[in-house]
């Protein structure tokens, strides 16, 4: 009996092996980035970036463009241009044009997260400007999809980009008390560059955060911005007008204090920032006085920017930093609709404490 079973298994191994779709690595056309935009006829236009591996071991990127009503339909069209089938398993970044994002993009993301081959850690970006010219240019030694993915990775680890990817977007989209955002990239002087965030209400882009606010945004949102730096203009003293210090190695912590959760809440966000001073526009002499001034200036600047940003969010009725989520976690009977009603009028205060601890290895 056992032998017959074994015989059957071996037979099945041979017979059923054709049922599994083979996708041999070098016989498929890998797509590393895909950009979507709207055409004038309201059709989708997709631009796929694929790496071309040249015989001298260099990699250049190539783009394929096609229009169609649905993204998988476009894939079919793309296959008609290519010697190898397009596969989606190595998509590192999905790019969307601004007008598409303003119309709502959940249906486009749907094909992304429905496809088991696409990782949920793929990055998303909104493109400001011409999609095709952004994807066409050869940026680094790799193809553009990998280049952009490395760029995002690097900025999340060390720069002022909060953690963001497909998974985070969808989690923010489906959660109560937080709204999603996507970084904006644009082409500038032939290089691709991060340029603020697109802010979403639901799946529609409703606002934009400029690049200079990205630092404050990360301070209010994410755990650490360790290798990030910011320039602080010294104020509050007449002598030092127009002087700057640069603050590096910033660590930020936030503590929420929420009162009166049932009615219009009063929310205080205590932000503690630690950092090192490593550059001073007036040369070497950084004494305690200057540091004190710098601390005070930074406190007031961060507070002002943060207050402005939050009141902008309140005006737009969006909540990308997840204040609602904080309230929700402290409240038993949380009602989303009620929160949405009271949020624009909520009294949200940012309390900033800055301590600059080191001034580098030179006294």
């Amino acid at each position: 009996m056992k032998r017959i079973l074994l015989l059957i298994v071996i037979c099945l191994l041979g017979v059923l092996s054709a049922c599994v779709q083979k996708q041999i690595l070098d016989d498929v056309q890998l797509v590393t980035a895909i950009g979507y935009e709207l055409t004038n006829e309201n059709e989708l236009k997709a631009t796929a970036v694929t790496p071309i591996y040249k015989p001298d071991k260099t990699i250049i990127s190539d783009i394929f463009t096609e229009t169609g009503p649905l993204s998988k339909e476009i894939r079919k069209q793309l296959n008609m241009q290519s010697s190898r089938p397009f596969v989606s398993g190595k998509i590192e970044i999905g790019l969307y044009s601004k007008d598409l994002a303003q119309k709502g993009m959940l249906d486009l993301l749907d094909t992304f997260y429905r496809d088991p081959a696409v990782g949920s850690r793929a990055y998303l970006a909104i493109v400001d400007g011409n999609m095709q010219s952004l994807l066409e240019k050869q940026y680094g030694q790799q193809d553009n999809g990998i280049y952009l993915s490395h760029m995002f990775e690097q900025n999340i680890d060390t720069g002022s980009l909060p953690r963001t990817n497909l998974n985070q977007f969808l989690s923010a989209y489906y959660s109560q008390g937080i709204d999603p955002f996507i970084p904006i990239v644009k082409q500038e002087n032939g290089q691709v560059k991060l340029d603020g965030h697109a802010l979403f209400r639901g799946d529609k882009m409703v606002g934009e955060l400029s690049a200079k606010n990205m630092f404050i945004f990360k301070v209010l949102m994410d755990k650490y911005t360790k290798q990030d730096s910011t320039a602080v203009k010294l104020t509050e003293t007449n002598q030092r007008e127009g002087e700057y210090v640069s603050v590096l190695k910033i660590r930020a912590k936030r503590v929420y204090k929420i009162e009166n959760t049932t009615e219009v809440p009063k929310i205080t966000i205590n932000v503690k920032i630690e950092g090192n001073v490593e550059e001073y526009s007036e040369g070497q002499q950084i004494d305690k006085k200057i540091i004190k001034t710098a601390q005070k200036s930074m406190q007031s600047q961060v507070k002002k920017q943060a207050d402005d940003m939050i009141s902008m969010f309140q005006e737009l009725r969006i909540d990308p930093i997840g204040i609602g989520g904080q309230v929700r976690s402290r409240q038993r009977n949380w009602d989303e609709n009620h929160w949405l009603d009271v949020y624009p009028n909520a009294d949200i205060n940012v309390d900033v404490q800055v301590s600059l601890t080191e001034t580098g290895i030179v006294e």
């Binding site: 009996m1 032998r3 017959i4 191994l13 041979g14 092996s17 599994v20 779709q21 083979k22 996708q23 041999i24 690595l25 070098d26 498929v28 890998l30 590393t32 790496p51 591996y53 015989p55 071991k57 990699i59 596969v87 398993g89 190595k90 590192e92 081959a117 990782g119 790799q142 990998i146 993915s149």
Partner: protein
């Protein structure tokens, strides 16, 4: 179930086959001598010089002529010998047997004894041992070489081998039971165990299985291993063979049974566990931390060796998504020009390595080394340049082959090389799922295996925590006070743990 009727072997009615090869010979001494005289190396002569004529019979090719010349012939001439009893007193050789049992005479003379007959018609003869012992000198272990530690290994003589063991265990409890196995070869097989430590059940299993062997010639211990092993259809060896007398002595003390075979430079050990196949005896010569590290390395090497090529094939054929983005370009570039699918590429290289190994093993040492280098470098580079295999796979296969050589027991190394191929085929057909299925098959098979009736996967399954002290990690000696549970020894303690723990100072 008609289908498998053709599987069933026909029962043969050969039970009545006679043990005797030539049935025409009857049981008298005379006919025995007549039969032997046909061989030209059988010597018969009558010593006429002595007062009483003496008849001597022996095989020239089996006896040491030195003993005849020095210890027998002079004494036969000196005195008048009237009876075999007197002969026994006169000769300076112990253990002279006087018998008329023809079977015994036949056995002894074929092992190198001399028959002395006083009267040609009498059936009573004296048997004097004078066998020629031509054995290799005890030399360095070659298969299980160790940098530190004893450097002696077994030779092809059972008596020398037993001597090597007894020297290491000078206790009366060390018991040796000898059997003669093989219808033609009559090979001496010794079962060695320590009374009061080794579980009687284990010893009896071994003895019973050895007595039950039906075979004509036993030329090596490997024959015995194959004949008494629990599952003969398993690629995994279930008994360890070792050429180190120190290893045998040490595991005898642990409570295992050892089997030594005349003519074989390897001893057999059992019952054993899967993990033991990956522990070298050198592990006990090193500090426990280093030894444990090397064991872990070896374990890693085995897993690496079995799985790396199948994973390469599976990932490149089915799961390109799994490859990290920075590795994709390396893999694609190295495979860009290759016309073969990953499985053929992998099988091509694996077989090339197997060929090299086989050629290296068959050729004389000097040429073998050259073949290894030439094959490894030239064929490897050439096949990459010809575009038949990729650089990455060449590295992977070479590393996997290297890793498979780290197993200290040669037979287990062979098994590891073999089971890579089913894994490869499964990987090709079903990707990583296939690798997982094949792994399940392997684990199930291992779970079912036993070694002399004891579970083969112990201490992992059945889980025996205390036996883990000498499995993947070798703990220091003072943790090793208990004998392995797997062996079910009669005396469970090797030494007193408390006493071993105190450090004695000089002034105590």
């Amino acid at each position: 179930m008609r289908i498998h009727r053709w599987y069933k072997k026909k029962k043969k009615n050969d039970n009545q086959q006679k043990d005797n090869i030539n049935p025409e010979v009857d049981d008298s001494l005379e006919s025995l001598i007549k039969q032997m005289k046909v061989s030209n190396d059988f010597i018969y002569f009558k010593n006429d010089q002595s007062p009483q004529p003496i008849h001597l019979y022996y095989f020239m090719s089996l006896v040491d002529s030195e003993i005849i010349h020095r210890d027998i012939l002079p004494y036969l001439n000196r005195e008048s010998l009237t009876s075999l009893q007197k002969l026994k007193q006169e000769l300076p050789i112990e253990n002279i047997e006087i018998t008329s049992d023809v079977n015994k005479i036949e056995q002894k003379v074929l092992r190198g004894s001399i028959i002395i007959q006083l009267d040609k018609s009498s059936t009573e003869v004296a048997l004097i041992r004078a066998e020629l012992n031509k054995a290799r000198e005890v030399s360095l272990p070659e298969v299980e070489f160790s940098v530190v530690g004893p450097k002696e290994s077994f030779v092809e003589s059972l008596d020398t081998n037993l001597n090597l063991i007894r020297k290491r265990l000078p206790i009366p409890e060390l018991q040796i039971a000898e059997y003669s196995v093989g219808k033609l070869s009559k090979t001496r097989v010794a079962v060695v165990s320590i009374e009061g430590i080794t579980n009687e059940e284990n010893v009896n299993t071994v003895k019973q299985r050895i007595q039950a062997i039906e075979f004509d010639t036993i030329n090596d211990s490997s024959y015995i291993v194959q004949l008494i092993t629990d599952n003969k259809n398993s690629p995994f060896p279930q008994l360890i063979d070792t050429e180190r007398p120190d290893r045998i002595a040490s595991v005898l003390a642990e409570g295992k049974v050892a089997i030594l075979v005349d003519g074989a430079p390897h001893g057999i050990l059992g019952p054993t566990t899967f993990i033991e196949f990956f522990s070298a005896f050198e592990d006990y010569f090193l500090n426990w931390i280093t030894a444990s590290f090397f064991r872990l390395i070896r374990l890693f090497a085995v897993i690496f060796s079995i799985l790396i090529t199948p994973i390469y094939v599976a990932v490149l054929t089915y799961h390109y998504e799994l490859i990290p983005k920075d590795l994709v370009s390396i893999l694609v570039i190295s495979r860009r020009e290759i016309p073969l699918p990953p499985i053929l590429e992998a099988i091509f290289l694996e077989i090339a390595i197997e060929l090299l190994r086989e050629a290296g093993a068959r050729l004389p040492t000097k040429v073998g080394q050259t073949i290894g280098i030439v094959g490894g470098i030239v064929i490897g580079t050439a096949s990459v340049e010809a575009g038949l295999t990729s650089n990455v796979l060449l590295i992977i296969v070479a590393l996997a082959a290297l890793a498979s050589f780290t197993t200290p027991v040669y037979k287990m190394g062979n098994t590891i090389r073999l089971i890579r191929f089913p894994f490869l085929i499964f990987a090709h057909f079903w990707g990583l799922l296939g690798v997982a299925i094949c792994f399940c098959f392997t684990i199930t098979h291992l779970l079912k295996l036993t070694s002399l009736g004891r579970p083969f996967l112990e201490p992992i399954f059945p889980p025996r925590i205390s036996d883990l002290k000498d499995a993947v990690i070798r703990l220091p000696f003072n943790f090793q006070a208990k004998r392995p549970i797997q062996l079910q020894t009669e005396d469970t303690m090797r030494f007193k743990q408390n006493k071993a723990k105190d450090k004695r100072e000089i002034d105590e």
